[in-house]
Symmetry: C2
Subunit: 325 residues, 2 copies
């Protein structure tokens, strides 16, 4: 299977590394909207101008589109699904139905298969919500994120005057997690579920008290949370906060028996050293399934809910039944 | 969707309760090889003789076959798949390929859809092994069972002379679990992964030391484990050990990055008050998917690997995308 990458940021580089773990795949190119001469891939894969991508159709079975959900993917995925089988990681939950409709229309018109909203949330977390809800119809869902870096919250802190750099970690509250696991079905406020930890490099002479106050009272981002702010040096930031770890928990508790007398807990947990590299590994497995659907003539837009698990694996159905069931 | 149950033991009763949590389903009958007059269902569902099942074809969209894997299911599922869409919980891992082939042949010949090896292991644990392996090609798999009652091990203890009753719990070793979760990829012996706890009611005047010795040295069942034996009264057995809890952990740790510099852990955990009732809830969700495949004319034998997650849910594709992705 010949894969190509459209957009060479953190996730694009993750896909480049992920393909090397999948011997049934080859990476044939990276497409960029920047000057291709200015982009150097980590493994020597050729870089082409995004504008020239139609010339490379024969070398691309599935195109992994690595762009932002705010402005890139709503335009790119419908556009590219007309000519390519594609995978994206569109993660604006509220706009998924509209994105799905746009991609489905162009993919069907072009006779291609598309998978939107791949990754871990949406993605693996969604799958686990679905399975757990199907198994335990009478129950409660809980999702906890972290401990991990939220890029959106880090960016929000960086925009505060006097902030040179910032990193924000989302942290699940251990007591809340334990109450959920114990099947107590707690009603949890935003504040009771997660805390937020900010590490901030202040500019020379900046008013640190004012920065801390600005963070803690920032509407939507921080005001509903217990937030801690720690000022550190640029050296400490580079040394201790250069990675992008993340993860979280999807938990559903439910009951069974004629009198709901038994309680069950289903928990799915991710602990990730690198959010973009793990997302890329998921996208590559999904690309395999997209390629299989396309080769069967099953076109249009899909989500993780529509893919049989076997299609994500390089193993045959016989191998899976013999060794993994 | 009209469901029926074939075999009214622990899992059959679990299916009876599970159907009540799924408003899109109706339970139309229980089929038994015993005298139907001697079987009384918990919810008043009619009981019929297994031999008469063909007379009820019009009332059965999917038949959930609840029998033992050793001798019942290898005969029943191929036989019934000729005339019905069926679901079973065949759990003899080594014989799955052979069972699949037998069921596939009769299901195709009869124009029906069958799902074998549903439940949680095989079943949900298998699914999680597959997804985690597809996402993290370079990694290690670990499965821990428990804390839970192993019926096979309990039966083995009951066969020892002088034992009136027994219950065996399989317990994961916490240190092993922590080492795996920490991404240390330990090589674990059988003894290092699980301990076994036996609660035994001895017959009047029985030699308890001899019983304990017989348990701890029993080949295959106990000799490779650290086993504790606790003698209790029949009253304590009834009071403290009448339930069938179980569960466990499927964990895969793997690496990413060009130099394998990042580690990721995927963990799926079940904590179940009632093993048979949870198994039944899974079987019912799978029966929904089987019904959908059959109505599309997609016949033959399937496993959990072949079913798109959306087919397990009563929600529409639009609802799933809007609310669960």
């Amino acid at each position: 299977m010949k894969l190509a990458i459209y957009g060479y940021g953190n996730i694009g580089r993750g896909v480049e590394a992920a393909v090397r773990q999948n011997p049934d795949m080859t990476l044939t190119g990276v497409f960029t909207r920047r000057d291709p001469a200015a982009v150097k891939t980590k493994t020597g894969v050729p870089v082409y101008a995004a504008a020239d991508i139609l010339q490379h159709k024969a070398d691309i079975d599935v195109l992994v589109i690595c762009g932002g959900s705010a402005t890139d993917l709503p335009v790119l995925t419908p556009m590219l699904a007309k000519d390519f089988n594609v995978v994206d990681s569109f993660d604006t939950h509220a706009r998924i139905p509209e994105h799905f409709a746009a991609v489905d229309a162009t993919a069907r018109a072009g006779g291609h298969t598309a998978l939107i909203s791949g990754g871990w949330d949406p993605g693996m977390f969604s799958l686990n919500r679905l399975y757990a809800n199907a198994i335990l119809p009478q129950g409660s869902d809980y999702t906890f994120w972290g401990r991990g870096v939220s890029q959106g919250h880090s960016d929000a802190v960086r925009r505060i005057p006097g902030v040179a750099d910032a990193r924000q970690y989302t942290v699940p509250v251990p007591e809340a997690l334990e109450a959920v696991r114990a099947g107590k079905c707690p009603e949890l406020t935003t504040r009771q579920k997660h805390t937020r930890e900010c590490y901030v490099v202040a500019e020379e002479g900046a008013d640190k008290a004012a920065i801390e106050q600005a963070i803690k009272t920032m509407p939507n981002y921080f005001d509903e949370y217990d937030t801690t702010v720690t000022f550190i040096t640029a050296e400490e930031m580079a040394r201790d906060h250069s990675e992008l770890p993340h993860g979280g928990f999807v938990i559903r508790t439910g009951v069974s028996g004629l009198h709901n007398e038994h309680t069950h807990t289903i928990e799915y947990r991710l602990n990730l050293d690198s959010n973009p590299e793990f997302t890329a590994l998921v996208l590559v497995a999904l690309a395999r399934a997209v390629g299989k659907h396309a080769s069967r003539g099953d076109y249009g837009c899909k989500t993780v809910f529509d893919l049989a698990p076997a299609d994500l694996s390089p193993l045959t159905a016989e191998e899976l039944r013999a060794h993994m069931l």
